[in-house]
Amino acid sequence: MKQAFRLTVNGEPEDVLAAPHTTLLEVLREELGLTGTKEGCDEGTCGACTVLVDGDPWLACLTLVGEVQGKEVRTVESLAGGRTLHPLQESFLEHGAVQCGFCTPGILMTASSLLARRPSPSEEEVREALEGHFCRCTGYVKIVKAVVAAGDTQHEQV
């Protein structure tokens, strides 16, 4: 039976009518039309569905809609401001860090959480932070470079 859940997604309050066995991933993609977040393995091993919950990367496929009531959910759609891309997105374009693009939204979210905590992470820190993401095009090297470079850019701007 459907229930009302009050969520906050990308800064906006959202009242969602959903059955309690609905995952956050299903709500984002199917109820709210936020299809930037991808469904990969759907069992917590690939990282494609990663979103931020109160600033921390969580797997939306292993999160129930009820579990994020009262919490702040951020998806890849929140990164760009209008037509201005987030420094991470700019850096991904510049470094060719996107191949098929399926893992990209999840990686961007984890990387943005890392940069919020550590504005200029080392390559080692970036690799550690991204260890929960599969890129089946195996483009890891450019992804890591792009995140490190975005950190450097951000640092110069500060």
Partner: protein, 338 residues
């Protein structure tokens, strides 16, 4: 993969939570990072999920005046891994927590959830469709075992796979078990049944509320060594926790605790090796002998793609590493205490 239907309950007090869990069709939800996968696989289909995350008292990390450290069951593994108190006092627990899953899982998964983790077997942990090609096994209510064909006694060999538990047991941790009536405090080992089918010896309506770790004696070093297929994500093929306390000479072992995950349906205490190490002087040769004793005490089965001969040799290797690292951490050979 859709989850099966259930109703979702959010109790605000431990009493209410225990009351709801007394119903046979209820299961507790903490981080849910393992439970929800098992539910997607239709291994578990509870009518009601009781979300414990509204019980704010259970997410605290506290140091008591007597030096005991209390970790609430809802403390996330990420919080354990990052806690300055845990890293300083019980470094092996921070290492063990850090070795679980991936960062996204550790941000949500809890210490209580890891303690109550279900046993694992690659014939059991499969999506419903993939299970249809084989006969139903004991853990699923059937009458065969795929690991030990011909097993007549209904025994299940699924492995205990929680990383934090060997560390906690080697630290002599106790757990507070809450229920609708009185709560009780018991040594952590007592909540494990040894049965792969139902690994927890908790009664219906009981839940693990907190973990209590006593202060370590001086001249003590700790280590957690984990073997897994990849550098991240995987459950342990093998996890070995060692806590060694030395006399003031920092050579002679006063007390040894060695606990393993990944070798039996419950955490395994290597008591023979512990007794052998008492009053022994820890050298690489002694550590190797003790590690052989650890292996000899365990009945190893080929399981989850790991041949028995391989696991036996890795038990020796990882137990020896854990002992020598714990020795170094205790300041043996002039090493720093880490």
């Amino acid at each position: 993969m859709r989850l099966p239907e259930f109703s979702y309950l959010e109790p605000r007090s431990i009493q209410d939570a225990c009351h709801l869990l007394a119903d046979a069709s209820s299961l507790p939800l903490s981080g849910g990072t393992d439970l929800l996968v098992n539910m997607k696989y239709k291994l578990l289909q509870p009518a009601r999920l009781v979300d414990l995350k509204g019980l704010a008292d259970l997410a605290l990390v506290q140091e008591m005046p007597n030096g005991e450290v209390v970790l609430g069951a809802l403390t996330t593994l990420r919080a354990i891994e990052r806690s300055a108190l845990v890293r300083e006092r019980f470094p092996l627990l921070a290492v063990a927590a850090r070795s679980v899953g991936i960062p996204q899982i550790r941000n949500k998964a809890t210490l209580g959830g890891n303690i109550c983790l279900d046993t694992r077997c690659w014939y059991y942990n499969l999506p419903a469709f993939s299970r249809t090609t084989r006969e139903v096994c004991h853990k699923l209510g059937g009458s065969v075992c795929q690991v030990v064909p011909g097993e007549k006694h209904g025994r299940c060999y699924a492995l205990f796979s929680a990383d934090t538990v060997p560390a906690l047991m080697a630290l002599d941790a106790k757990v507070k078990i809450a229920s609708a009536g009185d709560s009780r405090v018991v040594p952590l080992r007592e909540i494990y049944s040894g049965d792969g089918i139902r690994p927890l010896a908790l009664r219906r309506g009981e839940l693990v509320a907190e973990v209590r770790i006593p202060p370590l004696p001086t001249n003590t070093g700790t280590s957690y060594q984990k073997l897994r297929e990849r550098g991240t994500l995987d459950f342990p093929i093998l996890g070995v926790a060692a806590v060694l306390t030395f006399f003031d000479d920092r050579r002679t072992c006063r007390q040894a605790k060695i606990v393993l995950a990944g070798v039996a349906p419950s955490p395994f205490e290597a008591t023979t090796a512990e007794a052998f190490l008492k009053n022994a002087s820890l050298t690489p040769q002694v550590a190797a002998e003790a590690a052989n004793l650890v292996r000899d005490q365990i009945a190893v089965y080929a399981l989850n793609g790991i041949p028995a001969w391989y696991k036996r040799s890795m038990i020796v290797e990882y137990a020896a590493r854990a002992l020598l690292q714990a020795g170094l951490a205790a300041g043996q050979g002039g090493g720093a205490r880490t």
